[in-house]
Symmetry: none
Subunit: 206 residues, 4 copies
DNA sequence: GATGAATGAGCCTTCATTCAT
DNA sequence: AATGAATGAAGGCTCATTCAT
């Protein structure tokens, strides 16, 4: 283990402060002054560690997206490679892992999505994640559906995931993780051939 | 006597300029200077007609949401009150009317959605429209499904609509209206009892 | 009598609106928009009748100062030319005529005094009135005091008048006219030779 | 470590620049741009040190009033507690200390007085000082006059002080400190019982 | 490593004024 | 005579960033 320097302390601290600032004031008002106040440090330090505000925002977005995709990867790793339904549920579950649904993250995610329409760097990050979700879904679905149909259903699931996130970002009560997964699981089960639904998941709506 | 009837000319002109500015530069950079440049008028005129930037943004959001809900209302008015499937398709179709899917509107819609998390006025407008969509869907679905199930399916459809809009806002190719409606129709048909699917809409979704 | 045109109606109307605006918002915030709102007319009309804001302010100041000096002139005209004490009291009384002490006028007077330090036109108007007060006082006092002493006492009385006005402009209860005159009369009586105090004014403090 | 001790340099520097700007252009035209130009710094720095223009104006007014009341306090401290006449002269003298009568301060004082009619913060500051002057005078006068009479004379002296300041603000030659004190001392001596006028101050007023 | 000082650019708004009607 | 439309200039303020310490 190398000695941990300040960067390893300051960077997560500032990224977290950024999400808190976005959560409570919105991306537009999340000035370096505000963020640094949340972090309890001087504004100048943001330039020191991230080269500027853009660098901090990019790092924050990477962090949010990474956290999300990690949730998926971890669950996929724990799932039988041949259990198609299980793997799709893992993907969905990863996106609705309660640990990642706190308001701070959801709001930051939407703020960046909106922002990424006009910022190339953010756009690329967003695109990669979005496409990865689609490709993960498609890969699994292709094992039980025709390619065209797999693409179709993957789009449906991706839209459901993002739509529920989107609506949850606005709703005062946030995202209802359990309901989200029930909606998507229900969708999935109605799309798959009956022979793929025989294993442990028989409680359609719990 | 002064020039008369200018408000009816200037207001839509400025609202349109706002959407263009948001489309090409994003809400954050849509300053009154930029917007007025798009409209070909002086910045001060925004105050004259809207009392300030906030007034213009609110009017723009109202315009976007109104346009969307009008698309639904118009189609509902043309649909047989007893044709449940037809009415739901009308609701969905209204949300994906090609006239309303040009990039400008979609980007503005998302920008405002994101913004509304921290602006009470925008939040209220957003909430009203969002709830109206849900309530329209639920009302129709209740005629063929149990109440609880109707609510469940309504949430699914609403999430699909918003999710597709959201993903379309980011996608360079925009929203594919036909595909959007196919996905949602397909979802709907798999949720409804078979006896409600007998009319003219047979297997539009292949 | 000539036919009375609009100018004779509009000008006093706007001057009065100016004083109301200054009274309730201060000279700094008394924009043409605010003043015209008080007058119930369009802002453009100020240019029409006064050639601009400066013209209106100048006319307003003239009006205030004229009103004050008229109060003095009227009372002097009604006073025995040989009653020195009576004439000085007339001068003082003119400055504290209750009709001229309403908040609106007092505030406007002070606002203009302050402003006149940096506006040549206002400065000249102010100076003329101020010197006229001094010269009126001096003329009367010279009849009973040595010239140097007369000048000295005139300065004292003028300072008392302006000082009481000044303090009254700030005091929520405004100027106490009766108290003001008592203070100045008292001052005067202690300055004059005893043989001039024999007439009707024996109630020193009432 | 950043540069240290700048506030102690910048704050008086900016307050002084404010008075210079008011002196030469008037309060209305004393914009932050103008003030900062006088101070030789950037306009933004006013926010840095005073939180905004209002903060700077308030600090400037505090400075002016403090300076005035300090002049009184210092002189009172040097005066025999039992020498009533001496103490009142100290109060008057403090208000006409030549160091505090330069045009800059006098104009600023009047500008703020006028402004305080419509600014609560300034109003409160003004009121405190004004009442303190009155209360200082009353306290001393009560030792040689009946309470009612003391209040009466205190008002007279306060009016003389403020009236002379007011007239001096407009006069090109400024305030004549010596004449001011002569006028007020003369007033005082004519108000006090003869037995209080026996000490060292005999006929200073000619 | 970290900070407060300092700034130039830009933003929203207000304002006095001009003009066509 | 009177108005609303329209504007250029200016004002106060925020902000991301640089810099000396």
């Amino acid at each position: 283990m190398p000695k941990v320097g300040m960067p390893e302390i300051r960077k997560p601290q500032l990224i977290n402060a950024t999400m808190e600032a976005i959560d409570s004031h919105g991306l537009q008002k999340a000035s370096v002054a505000l963020i640094s106040r949340y972090a309890g440090v001087s504004p100048a330090i943001i330039n020191h560690y991230f080269g500027g505000k853009d660098g901090l925002l990019e790092a924050t977005m990477r962090s949010v997206l990474k956290q999300l995709s990690n949730g998926v990867s971890e669950r996929l790793a724990e799932t039988d490679p041949d259990d198609v339904v299980g793997r799709i549920k893992a993907i969905v579950g990863g996106n609705f892992d309660p640990r990642q649904l706190d308001r701070k993250v959801v709001k930051t995610w939407l703020a960046f999505w909106s922002q990424s329409m006009h910022d190339n760097m953010l756009f690329r990050l967003q695109r990669v994640n979005e496409q990865r979700l689609l490709s993960h879904l498609r890969r699994e679905l292709k094992r039980v559906l025709e390619p065209e149909r797999a693409q179709f259903v993957a789009q449906g699931i991706a839209a459901l995931i993002d739509g529920i996130w989107l609506r949850g970002a606005l709703a005062p009560e946030g995202i209802n993780s359990e309901m989200a997964q029930r909606i998507i699981t229900d969708y999935l089960e109605r799309q798959l051939p009956p022979e793929n639904l025989n294993t442990e998941h028989k409680r359609r709506t719990q």
